[in-house]
Symmetry: D3
């Protein structure tokens, strides 16, 4: 296993120098979930317009957070994303909301952190809008599902490869 | 179960008006974990100064994110936190890093979102610094462990009440 | 007519010192409109969920902008708003969207700029979402309708006083 | 008339994916006005240095706001503007200040929103500096006068084409 | 000499908890200088309006930076300054620009960092506007001249006490 | 000596239009120092982990500030840095901390301001963490040591050319 790329030889934190890296198209797909009480999920779902509203607020928060990624994560490079998508679905069977985000750009570094940040902040926004009725929510499953571009090419998480994910 | 506080009567998203609420001391304790391969955790731990560095970067990112909470979560109120603490521990038995954050202020609204945002962004920072060596990390367990102040007084998550948590 | 409060005696720009001003409850109501082609307005209105979405995005943008007011307007004081509301309505008779915003806090300075900023940015967001189908939109009528608190007490714009406004 | 580009097929808000769009030089010229009482405009104008100061503060606010555009307007792409100009003129015949902004870059999306944001925030800054002496100011006429680049090529507002504008 | 307040007992960086501290009026006066070639200073000074402009841009940058202090300095508390003043003077005898900033608020922590940040960023702005004609400028003398409020009461730098400063 | 590039012909502040400038690789190296009492420097140095922590916090603050440069310095262009490095050293012989920063990108404008901002904010962060034990610290020597790229090619400060600097 290789060294941590963000520590220099004397063990200090450092941004990776990407000046000489090739520009390639980069895509990253990330996921997050918010698990809640069944009654909380029902409140989000019931009434078409209400659902739209809660999910739209979370989606916008996720999109805006992706743009702030380099200001939040100290060693991330500033990037100009050409596409940010955040989708939310109610998963009633498992009492949770599933959030998927996709970020893209043609650039010198990957966009995993942008996608993860979008999914995380969308999840936090769901939490915020429901916390007055449910103190026991848990945000989890924040992970990369798929990435394209850069040295490692096309990579998919095992759960995606196995098709265990809808 | 009550209505969602962030939707008005016609179902539209709205910030809660806290103008008339009393100022009380508020504390919130939140948690997040980053689960990784054993070899990744070992890279973080080995060498005293290296560990300090990775954890210090994540801690600083968490503290800075707490201050940005109202800019990230659309319906959060701007707040002036009087204390933000972020602590990280390597939990080798479970191949993960555990992050705990504590936010405080004397104010009109709770600080749960600030504590959750601090823990989430600290976790994302750990992820960023290790992602080149481990694509399978998962961030999870983002939740409130304890809160003080406001209408609901002192509240603790069940895992805390039962003492199942160190 | 008095001097400009933001110029000191030698004519240079300066933030007003409010350290010694009393804390009173402040409210400001602002308005903005986006005038567009009838077909553009129809696209926004048709379909309940679509309308919700465009208006929700603009509303969230307005709320977030109010919090950024002191970072946008150089001589504004940083404030902790306790309530921000942004409402949008389609005014088909006049081919326009009407935006009203209300900001509140208990503080030492008024919140007019926060309300005006919320209304302006909500209008710009409507513009952004429709600009691909309509290049001739015009944003206008950005003004204060009513304010409460501070030295000048309760003030209403003439159009509000005369009841010429619904 | 085409669909709204910022709504996907199920009517939800979405950033437009510009990954595959060509990089061309983009220019946008926007305008805004602040109409005020004659005595207010006189206070701004009288004394060379004073005028310079009020207009310089507004100009700087406009330039800084253009850079913040993607953080204010949720579905705007982050851009790296190569030029931002904001000019202000006193139009005594009509008791108003006229603001014109020009934004440029070589990129994949237009810069109309950046130019409109610059003009709007410069107008709000004028408002802020004069509001203590004039509560009846109105910001209006926020519109695109001209744009260059992208699919629609060179476009000018009718008032510009007709030469009705100085 | 006491311990560093920003390191906890195990030597890790930590924000100081000010929840229990008394609210008192706080003032801090800071200074910075930009030393340059005589010809550069002359370019700034000559022509009344030009001087106004360069100094006004730097002043506005300083005021805006003071508001951003807690976002720039990781362990600073977010504060709501009630007054920020930045003054610039050409000191021809010593080929430099002298910047003084004053920040105020009634709060639980001092405002030294806000005043120092205002002076530093005003100095950087002067540097930016002159760097094309002078690569040898040096920013220095960034220090606190005077502070009021808090546990240490009224404190003045020795140079101020001795009256060696105009 | 040439004109100030940031003033237009009528003496008003203006961003330089770099739309037509060539993209070349740019590097800038900047420096800053924090001079303090010997006992203060000793507190920073003593204990390996403590030193790491103070310096790591300052380093992260510097890296994050470089990304914020265009938001702090009004007439700077937004840039996407591909590398930001900040190094800190205790210079016991002279009772000070020396900070060096290096910024890089392939772009149309130089990165001096980014490097200077990184060094300045790292210095301010050192100041913040030590100010409770030492009110007499002074930040100085903020200057460009070396730059590469653009019209002026490779430039080094005289102190670097003469080798008087380690």
């Amino acid at each position: 296993m290789s060294k941590l790329t963000h520590l220099n030889e004397s063990g200090q934190a450092e941004m990776v120098d990407v000046t000489a890296k090739a520009v390639t198209e980069r895509v990253a797909v990330a996921e997050a979930t918010v698990t809640m009480q069944p009654a909380t999920l029902k409140l989000i779902i019931e009434g078409g317009h209400k659902k739209g509203d809660v999910f739209t607020v979370a989606k916008i928060a996720g999109v805006q957070a992706a743009k702030q990624c380099a200001n939040l994560i100290p060693l991330c490079h500033p990037l100009m994303l050409t596409s940010i998508k955040v989708d939310l679905q109610a998963d009633e069977a498992n009492n949770r909301v599933i959030i998927q985000s996709v970020c893209k750009l043609a650039g010198q570094t990957g966009v995993e952190m942008e996608a993860l940040t979008a999914a995380s902040v969308a999840a936090l926004t769901i939490y915020d809008m429901c916390k007055a009725v449910d103190k026991t929510m848990v945000i989890g499953d924040i992970q990369i599902l798929e990435k394209l571009g850069g040295k490692s090419g096309h990579w998919r998480a095992e759960s995606v490869v196995e098709g265990s994910r809808g």
